[in-house]
Each structure stands twice: as structure tokens, then as C-alpha cells.
């Protein structure tokens, strides 16, 4: 019984991890890549660690597995958030299919500038990171 | 399985050497980092590889049932990693100070003939 549960959890976990990989590989802009990657991977790890906890049937292992799970669930969204925030602030572009950018609209309104393209508004006016981290 | 690890080690060495021969200070330090990776893996491999048998004795046991990985190279590498970190930290700061002085990454602008 435990074996089957372990196996299923592992396969599911693996599948999510694969999904995360595909997501980050395929999605068209940074934000959607993050959307895909962070959550799928977190879920995948959750499954894996659950499998570990079940498989070893040992309190200390299970505790640690749960601890790691909790930790990952705690940190993953924050990590995603800080990167997204930073990326947005330096003007990493949104996908062209993006419908509307209410944050950008507000900022443009505040600064009284009329930039058109989605995601074109950089909070700090920095645009150097658009294509690469630190220029060429 | 040794061949793969050996080639990996060689590759790390080669790329580190190549990087250190560039004119860029930055590449130099990347090369240094790769060099220490190479050296660590070299010790690891040369000491003998054994899969998934950490040299940690199970409770209430004084020997391994299945032969475990050699603990000594591990201890050596651990020491080397930590020392390498200290050195790297200092080297990084040193290099950045050098940048601040010269505002250039090109080592040829940085050095001058020593006569």
C-alpha cells in the first residue's frame, strides 16, 4: 500500500517537475514562465517529499520532509514575487498578447508620460535589462 | 563510470585554463572558480567513486555492510571548498577594487610593463 502510494506520488511529482521545465522553456514571457515554473515545481516537490515521508516511514525523515515542504511552500511564492517585481521594475517586457497592464497604466499616469507598448513603463526608467542583465 | 568523471574533470580544467588566458579580469575569476571545481572533482574521482553509500555509520553499528564512499577525500574536499570560498571572496573584492581604480575589464589596459 505504502509502496503504491509512494510510486504514484513520485510519478506525479516527477510529472509536475517536468511540467515546470516545459513551462519555463515554452512560455512566451518572463511572467508566464514564472507562473508555470514556480507552482508546478513547488507542487512537484511537495509530492516527492510526501513520497519520501511515506517511503521511509521514519519520524525524523518525515519531519524533515515536511519541514522542507513547508519551507518550499513558504519561500517559492516570495521568490517568484521578488523576481517578478524586480523584473517588472526594470522593464522586462510583457508578452505581446497581454491584454492590459494596470500597474503600468497607473505609473504612466503618475509620471504623465505616454508610453504605448505593454510593459514599456519601467518604474525606474531603467531599460538596460530588457534584453540582458548587464548590457553588452 | 570513471571515464565520464575523468572527462568532466578534464573539461573543467580546460575551460578554466582557457578562461584564465583571456584578457578579461572577470573571465579570469570565473576561470579560478572552475579551476577549484575541477580540483575538487579530481580529488573526488581519484579517491574512488562509490554510489549512494555515504560514509555515515548507521546507529549502533561500527562497520558498513556495503562498502561506503571513502570519507577522507570528502573531508579533504570539504576543507578545500571552504578555503576556496575564503580565497574567492577576497579575490572578488580585490578584483572589484581593481575595477574601481581602472574602470576597465581589459587586463591589457590594466597592466603596464614591469621594467
Amino acid at each position: 500500500m505504502a509502496e503504491i502510494a509512494t510510486a504514484i506520488l513520485m510519478v506525479i511529482g516527477g510529472a509536475f517537475m517536468l511540467l515546470a521545465g516545459i513551462g519555463i522553456f515554452r512560455m512566451p514571457d518572463l511572467f508566464m514562465r514564472m507562473q508555470a515554473a514556480t507552482k508546478a515545481a513547488t507542487l512537484g516537490i511537495g509530492c516527492m517529499l510526501l513520497a519520501v515521508a511515506i517511503h521511509f516511514q521514519d519520524v525524523s525523515v518525515a519531519t524533515r520532509a515536511l519541514l522542507v515542504t513547508a519551507f518550499v511552500f513558504m519561500t517559492a511564492p516570495v521568490a517568484a514575487h521578488v523576481i517578478a517585481r524586480a523584473a517588472y521594475s526594470v522593464g522586462v517586457p510583457l508578452w505581446e498578447g497581454t491584454l492590459r497592464d494596470e500597474l503600468g497604466e497607473k505609473q504612466r499616469g503618475g509620471e504623465g508620460k505616454g508610453k504605448e507598448s505593454a510593459g514599456g513603463g519601467s518604474a525606474y526608467g531603467g531599460s538596460s535589462l530588457r534584453s540582458d542583465g548587464d548590457g553588452q | 563510470m570513471n571515464a565520464l568523471m575523468a572527462v568532466t574533470v578534464g573539461f573543467l580544467y580546460a575551460s578554466s585554463v582557457y578562461l584564465m588566458l583571456r584578457r578579461s579580469l572577470f573571465k579570469l575569476i570565473i576561470g579560478l572558480v572552475l579551476l577549484s571545481h575541477g580540483a575538487n572533482l579530481l580529488i573526488f574521482t581519484a579517491g574512488g567513486l562509490r554510489r549512494a553509500q555515504p560514509p555515515v555509520l548507521p546507529p549502533n553499528q561500527t562497520t558498513f555492510e556495503i562498502p561506503a564512499a571513502d570519507p577522507l577525500p570528502q573531508a579533504l574536499i570539504l576543507t578545500a571548498i571552504v578555503i576556496g570560498f575564503g580565497v574567492l571572496a577576497f579575490a572578488l573584492v580585490l578584483f572589484s577594487r581593481a575595477y574601481q581604480v581602472t574602470h576597465s575589464d581589459d587586463t591589457d589596459e590594466f597592466w603596464k610593463p614591469e621594467i
Binding site: - | 575523468a6 574533470v9 573571465k27 579517491g47 570528502q74 570539504l78 576543507t79 575564503g86 575589464d105
Partner: protein, 793 residues
């Protein structure tokens, strides 16, 4: 035995204190001059001169009372190298010791007058005394290394003395020239002496005494037959010839005339330059008597003799004339030593004394003239006899001795000289050269000792004053001695010169046919006398026609080794510059390239030629995730190498680090993996922070450079691969880690063996490691917080 005991032991030994005291005396005197000089000032010269006279008296005591075999004194020094402080006072060394101390005393007095009030006079006394002590040590030493020590000390003190007027570039250059030439010769001589000692051991001497001249004397024949005889001879001759200014090394001596005259008179005519002669005389019993000796020594001597005299006549500066004539006289002595016959040695021993007396006097006279008139140009001198009559008489006597006018001592010397050339090998040639030189000597003697004092006074001489007694005492004494010894040669022949003569000849001559040296003014009417007479006449003619010599093209004679010396010096400088700019280019990457090339060469070549590598490329049993990781490590490193963006490179590095950590996990090293992960993350953070304000990097090197670097990189990588493979496969012994496994729990109370190793089995490593970390932190802190403020250091 404690170290201190060993030091104490080296003080003990069999000592004849007197002789050692004599050696040390001058050094002690030198040491107290800095105290003495401020007290005595002007009187220092007299004081020191009289003190030195005491030393002279000590040596003079031995005149006629020297036991056969001389007096010895010795003390252990460095037995393990065969060095002893051993001294021998025999006839030869007594002769030189008397010259050194006697003339030294006069020079000290003379110097006080000559340089009175000069700010460097105190130092001059110190150096002169150090030099005197070295010279005394040199001639008294029995151990060749003791002698060599003093030999080099004379070079050093001579360097400092020649550069007495150190603010003048010429003086400095001359000092350097003398030092390099004599120092170079000294080094060669050192090698020669070492070899000689070695051969002495081969010939049966004990290693402790293999450098004792008195011991080596006993194995002379064996050494002469040794295959190393010629190298030894050449090396030792290099030392002697440079020191005694033999052609082609003579050029330093005229240059050394940059020194004030007391120094020139003392070092460069009377004493130091004779050290080479002394050395060859001392070693004659061991080395002389072979064909090589005969030809090398005598031909170098003959060439020097003639060449020196010839150049001398062409000069107009008093000191230059005297310097070249000294070169010539030294050549003469060499020639005689080369000939090596009892007659030649007799002449040599006598001429040493003759030359010291007249040349010392003439030099001091030259100094007086320079001091009182202000010029040394003989063309601007004349009529000085009226101003300084005592000096004039002294000069005249000295010149007469030089010109070998009877009844002066020089005449006896000249007679013996002709005597030996006429009975030596190649006698016509040698005698002709001897005659020509002697003829030139006559001209030189007139030019330096007679001409300035006679005739009309010149503009320069009219302003001259008489010299004080401290100045004329020296030349007068020496010139007087030339006369006294000429008239009464018996005063010194048996008590001194005969013994010296015997010492030089050693066992070379069998006792039956040996005639003891006996000096006399009159040898009867013979060919030698005629030759002497003719020499005088011819010399006067040369003097009258001296303009012919001067009319020769001016660069004639400058095409000598002096120019060669300059060329060598310049050449060495440019070679050094080129070499340094090539090797020490300033570019770090070239340095690294060199190191990598060396590594490739040494390790690669050695592995390829000296061992049979049995490399088993085991590609089996590799799990797919291992493949994946290794490929990722390689790709990651490639990526961080090729990425032009710095932070991207850093991210690539992070990948490599994490993959390495995963490898550690896979191969059962959780501690390593954890450490690696943490360190990698910290490093990435540091990287990010440090490279936060960096300019972009460019592609900087061309295709050839890249190709070259790739080749080097692959070579290093290949070597690393091969070594790893080899080490992984070849396991000769059970690793010591087995012990750790067995003892970890029972003795070290820990199950995590890696950690037990770190804190217990090899805790010392960890101690060092945390020290490194601590220092790194201090370093980072200091480097970032401490900014330079101006050029303080």
C-alpha cells in the same frame, strides 16, 4: 652539545696569539678610529702612523730570526669545509708584511697631510686600516681560504677607497670597474682553490688541511700530474692576473687613479696590486715548473710589461704615467715568476722591494705636486726643486732607482732581471722585451721624477708652496731606503730576501745545486752591466724623443680591453632589458600561459616517457542522470565561459556548482553536497554584489590567440583527465581511511565519519581552514574599508 658550546669551541684551538694579534691589529685600529678621530683630528694620521710603525716593528723583529719553516698560528674555523684560520710567517710573507706595514705607516701620515680637513678623512683612515689588515692577513694566511677571505676584503676595501670621491661619477665607475674585474677574477680563483684542495685530498692530504699551502707544498708533484692541473692553473691565474692588473685585465688600474693619491700610492702601486704576484709566488712550489706555467705566466707578464711601459710614455698625467708603469712593473714580476728559475725568482723577490720603494715614493711625490701645484700635467710642470727641495731630492732618488742608476737599489734589481732573462728560455726575445721596457722605464723615471723639478718654473708652479713634513716624510724615507739598500744590500738579503727566495722556490730545486740569494751592487764587468748601461743611454734618448710616442694616433692604445669592458657592461644591460621585457612583460595572462605550458611540458613529457599508462576508459555502468549531470557541468562551464554578460556567466557558474553538488549527492557525499550548495549560493551572492557596477566586457583577443589558448587548455585538460583515470585505477595500497571507519564510533564517538575526520582525526586541517576564513573576512573588510589617502606607505 649545545649550540653555545659549539660557538665556544670554535674560539679555542692552538693559537699563537702574537701572529693572530698582528693580523687583527689593523682591524681593531680601524674600529677605534671613529672614536679617536673626533679627539685627535689633525694628529690622527701621526698617531695611526706611529701605531702602524709598531706593527712594522713587530714584523721587523723577525728579520734574521725567522726559524726555518716560519712561524705558524692557527685556530679552528670551519673544519667541515676545511677552513682554518691558519697563518704562516715565512720569508715571503715577512717581506710583504714589512712592505705593507712600513709603507702603510708612511701613507697614514701622508694622508693626514694630503687630505687635512677633508670631511671624509676619518672614513679614509678606517678604510685604509681595514685594507692594511686585509693585506696583512692575505700575506700571512696559510690556509688558502683564509687568504681568499682577505683577498676579497682587499677588493672590497679597494672598491670603497677608489670611490673615495664618491660624488664624482668617474670615481664611482672606476671603483666599480676595479671591483668587477678583481671580483670576477676572485671568483674564478675560488673555484680554482676549491679544485686545488680537492686534488690535494686526492693526492693524500687530510680533508681538514687540504687548503693549507704548507701542506699542499708537499704534494706539488702529484698535483702537477693531475688531469685538473690546467683548469686549476687557469682559474688561479685568473685571480692573480686580474688582481695584479695583467694584460688583458690591466685596464682597471689606470682607471683607479681616480682615487686620492695616498690611496693610489698605497694600494695601486705598493701593495694590493702585488697580491696577485704574491699569490703566484706563494703557489709556485705547488704549481710552477710546468710548461703551461712557464708559457702562460711569462708571456702574459712579458706582454703586460711592455704594453704598460709603452702606454705610460704616451701619457702626460703624472698619475697615469705612474699607473701604467706600475702595470708594466707588475708584468715584469709575472714574467720573472713565469720563468721560475732561481735567478728569476731572486730578481722577482728583489724587484718587489725595489718597486715598492721607488714607486711608492714617486706616487707620493706626484701627490705632493698635485696638492701644492694643482695640476698633474707634466707639460705644465717645471722648476719645482726651488720650491720643494726635499721632495725634489726624494723624487730624484726614486727616479734613479727606477731607472736603475747605480748605486741605487733599483740597479741591483735590474741586474738580476737581465741576469735571469739572459739565462732563461727564448732569451733573445725575452731579453729584447726586457731591454725595451727598461729603456722606457728610464724615460718614465725622468718624466716623473726629474723633469717637474728642473727647468724653468711655469705659471702653475710659480704659485706652489713647499709641502709640510707629513707629506714629504714618506717619499723621503722610501727614496732614502732605495739609496741605503743599494749601498748596503746585505742589510736585507740574508735576513729577508734569501729566505723569501727559498720559500718561493720551495722543493722545486734540489738542494745541492742551490745557491742562496746574495745581493751585491757590483757583479764585475759583464754583459749585463753593459746592457744596463746601454739601457740608461737609450732611455735618455727615448725621453728626449718622447713626442714621437705621443704623436701616434690618439686612439691607439685605447682599443684595448677597457673598451671591451664597456661593451660587455652595455651588452649585459641590453640583454637584461630584452630578457626582462620578454619574460616580465607585465601581462598576467602571459605569465599564466607560461605556467601552463611548463606544466604541460613537464608533466606531459614525464608521463609520456617514463611510465606506461594503462588507461582503462570505463564508459560502462553510467546512469543516465550521471550523464545528464556531467553534460550539464560541461555545458554550464562552456556557457559561463562564452556568455558575454557577466551576470549570465555567474548564473552559469551557479549551475555548474549545483550540478557538482548533485554529483556529490549521487556519490554518497552529503556533507560535501551541503557545503557545496551553501558555498555556491554564497559565492553567487558575492559575485552579484561585486560585479554590480562593472563595465561590459568585450571580445578582446584575435583568432590566433584563441586557437593557441584552446590548444593549451586542451593539453592541460587532457593531462588532468589522464591523471585522474590513472589514479582512479591504480590503487597500490589500502587507503588510510579504513582506520577512520573502524575507529570513528568506538574512539571518536561519531558516526558521520567525514565530520569526525574534520574535527578529530584531522582537526588541525580544520584549525587552519577556519584561520583562512577568518583572514579572508579581515581581508575583505580591510580592502573595502581602507582606502588609500595620499601616498603614505
Amino acid at each position: 652539545m649545545s649550540l653555545l658550546g659549539l660557538v665556544q669551541q670554535s674560539f679555542q684551538g692552538t693559537v699563537s696569539m702574537d701572529l693572530l694579534t698582528a693580523v687583527v691589529a689593523a682591524f681593531v685600529a680601524a674600529a677605534i678610529v671613529p672614536i679617536l678621530y673626533p679627539l685627535l683630528r689633525q694628529a690622527t694620521g701621526w698617531f695611526l702612523g706611529l701605531a702602524t710603525l709598531g706593527l712594522f716593528g713587530y714584523f721587523a723583529r723577525f728579520l734574521g730570526s725567522l726559524p726555518p719553516g716560519g712561524i705558524t698560528a692557527s685556530r679552528e674555523w670551519i673544519p667541515s669545509l676545511g677552513f682554518r684560520f691558519s697563518f704562516l710567517l715565512d720569508g715571503l710573507s715577512l717581506l710583504f708584511a714589512l712592505l705593507i706595514t712600513g709603507i702603510g705607516a708612511l701613507i697614514l701620515i701622508y694622508a693626514g697631510g694630503y687630505l687635512g680637513g677633508h670631511k671624509g678623512l676619518g672614513r679614509l683612515y678606517v678604510l685604509l686600516l681595514v685594507f692594511m689588515g686585509s693585506m696583512v692577513g692575505l700575506v700571512l694566511a696559510d690556509n688558502l681560504f683564509t687568504m681568499f677571505v682577505f683577498w676579497e676584503l682587499t677588493s672590497v676595501s679597494s672598491y670603497l677607497l677608489i670611490g673615495f670621491d664618491h660624488e664624482r661619477a668617474e670615481a664611482r665607475a672606476a671603483a666599480l670597474k676595479a671591483l668587477l674585474v678583481t671580483g670576477g677574477g676572485g671568483l674564478a680563483m675560488m673555484a680554482g682553490v676549491l679544485l686545488l684542495g680537492q686534488m690535494g685530498i686526492e693526492a693524500g692530504l687530510a680533508p681538514e688541511v687540504c687548503f693549507e699551502v704548507s701542506q699542499l707544498n708537499t704534494v706539488g708533484p702529484a698535483i702537477k700530474e693531475n688531469a685538473f692541473y690546467l683548469p686549476i692553473l687557469l682559474l688561479i691565474l685568473a685571480g692573480a692576473f686580474t688582481k695584479s692588473a695583467q694584460f688583458p685585465f690591466h685596464f682597471w688600474l689606470p682607471a683607479a687613479m681616480e682615487a686620492p693619491t695616498p690611496i693610489s700610492a698605497y694600494l695601486h702601486s705598493a701593495t694590493m696590486v702585488k697580491a696577485g704576484v704574491y699569490l703566484l709566488a706563494r703557489l709556485s712550489p705547488i704549481l710552477a715548473g710546468t710548461v703551461e706555467w712557464l708559457w702562460i705566466v711569462s708571456s702574459v707578464g712579458a706582454i703586460t710589461m711592455f704594453w704598460g711601459a709603452f702606454i705610460s710614455v704616451r701619457k702626460t698625467d703624472l698619475k697615469q704615467i705612474l699607473a701604467y708603469s706600475t702595470v708594466s712593473a707588475l708584468g715584469l714580476l709575472m714574467l720573472l715568476l713565469g720563468l721560475g728559475s732561481p735567478a728569476a725568482i731572486a730578481a722577482a723577490v728583489t724587484f718587489v722591494l725595489v718597486h715598492a720603494l721607488y714607486k711608492g715614493a714617486l706616487f707620493m711625490v706626484a701627490g705632493i705636486i698635485d696638492h701644492e701645484v694643482g695640476t698633474r700635467n707634466i707639460q705644465r710642470l717645471g722648476g719645482l726643486a726651488r720650491v720643494m727641495p726635499v721632495t725634489a731630492v726624494a723624487a730624484g732618488l726614486a727616479a734613479a732607482s727606477m731607472a736603475a742608476v747605480p748605486p741605487l737599489f733599483g740597479f741591483i734589481g735590474k741586474e738580476l732581471f737581465y741576469e735571469s732573462t739572459l739565462h732563461g728560455p727564448a732569451r733573445v726575445l725575452v731579453t729584447t722585451v726586457a731591454f725595451l721596457t727598461s729603456m722606457l722605464f728610464v724615460a718614465i723615471a725622468i718624466m716623473t721624477g726629474v723633469r717637474p723639478f728642473l727647468g724653468a718654473m711655469t705659471d702653475d708652479t710659480r704659485r706652489a708652496h713647499n709641502a709640510p713634513m707629513s707629506l714629504w716624510l714618506g717619499p723621503a724615507t722610501l727614496a732614502g731606503l732605495s739609496l741605503v739598500l743599494g749601498l748596503a744590500p746585505f742589510l736585507l738579503d740574508q735576513p729577508l730576501l734569501a729566505i723569501a727566495h727559498q720559500n718561493v722556490l720551495g722543493d722545486v730545486i734540489d738542494a745541492e745545486h742551490f745557491e742562496s740569494l746574495h745581493l751585491a751592487l757590483w757583479h764585475g764587468w759583464n754583459f749585463t752591466l753593459a746592457l744596463s748601461g746601454f739601457t740608461l743611454v737609450a732611455g735618455c734618448v727615448v725621453y728626449l724623443q718622447r713626442d714621437i710616442f705621443r704623436a701616434l694616433p690618439p686612439h691607439f692604445g685605447r682599443w684595448t680591453t677597457d673598451g671591451f669592458y664597456d661593451m660587455v657592461l652595455a651588452g649585459m644591460n641590453s640583454v637584461a632589458k630584452v630578457q626582462t621585457s620578454v619574460l616580465q612583460s607585465g601581462y598576467l595572462r602571459y605569465y599564466l600561459l607560461m605556467i601552463y605550458l611548463t606544466a604541460t611540458g613537464l608533466v606531459g613529457y614525464t608521463a609520456a616517457t617514463r611510465t606506461n599508462l594503462t588507461l582503462k576508459w570505463d564508459w560502462s555502468d553510467i546512469r543516465f542522470y550521471e550523464w545528464g549531470l556531467c553534460v550539464l557541468i560541461m555545458l554550464g562551464s562552456l556557457f559561463s565561459a562564452y556568455s558575454r554578460s557577466r551576470l549570465t556567466s555567474i548564473a552559469g557558474l551557479g549551475v555548474v556548482g549545483y550540478c557538482v553538488a548533485l554529483l556529490f549527492v549521487f556519490y554518497g557525499a552529503p556533507d560535501l553536497a551541503m557545503t557545496q550548495i551553501l558555498i555556491e549560493t554564497l559565492s553567487v551572492i558575492l559575485f552579484v554584489f561585486v560585479f554590480y557596477h562593472l563595465p561590459p566586457s568585450k571580445k578582446l583577443s584575435g583568432p590566433f590567440t584563441r586557437l593557441r589558448d584552446i590548444v593549451v587548455a586542451i593539453a592541460i585538460g587532457g593531462i588532468a583527465t589522464i591523471l585522474v583515470l590513472q589514479a582512479e585505477q591504480v590503487k597500490y595500497f589500502t587507503p588510510i581511511s579504513q582506520f577512520f571507519v573502524e575507529n570513528s564510533v568506538p574512539k571518536a564517538h561519531g558516526r558521520n565519519i567525514v565530520n569526525v575526520i574534520l574535527v578529530d582525526f584531522r582537526g588541525l586541517d580544520t584549525m587552519g581552514e577556519i584561520t583562512v576564513l577568518a583572514v579572508a573576512a579581515v581581508g575583505v573588510y580591510a580592502l573595502l574599508k581602507l582606502r588609500p589617502q595620499g601616498g603614505k606607505a
